[in-house]
Amino acid sequence: MPAVEAAAGARTTTFDGRAIALAIGAAWLLPGLGHVVLGRVRRGLLFGGLLLGCYGLGLAHDGRLALRDQRQPFLTTLQVVANLGIGPLDVAARVHVYGRPQYVFPSHFRSASERERSEIFRDRARSGTSIYGTAYVWTAGLMNLLLLFDVWDIGRGKRKV
């Protein structure tokens, strides 16, 4: 149940911990949904459209769906985190591109399918538009991570209505 507080002309609404956790979960599941859950519908729709558009542009330009590589574990892990910021859409994109939710670059090809997935990854990286697509895809994920903090702030009443 939201509690509304008015102070010095600025109205804020605070939510209990459960509602905030639900909103943050919703925000990760679908960009903008967390704001909608907290009643910030226009803001949520704007962010949702912006982030989904950015992510779609990235996929259309062969954006890199990062794989954790043992040879560069730190950087590639950060890349995967940026990808995962967009939520389950990342899993769906990987299933579409790699045929399964692949997150690790196969260091030893135990099967033909692992070799095929590594070739898909390399082919996309070699594409002429991949540098643009990668910027869009990773930025969309990072922007959604920022939105989780925004939802947290709105839930705690740190933002004016």
Binding site: R43, F47, L50, C54, Y132, A135, Y136, L146
Partner: protein, 57 residues
Amino acid sequence: MQSHFLHMLLYSTIVSTFLAVLVREDRRERLRLGLTIWLAMVGGAVVLAHLMYPFPR
């Protein structure tokens, strides 16, 4: 789309819109911040590109 410049314009528009809406509540302040970020990204890249032009390698 293969144009590096058009991608830069599009990317700058997306990022500046996102940050302006995220950080500012007032419409006029949003517009001002969004334009500032957009001009900094696009203008900065164009200026930097011209400064680097005499040094291709």
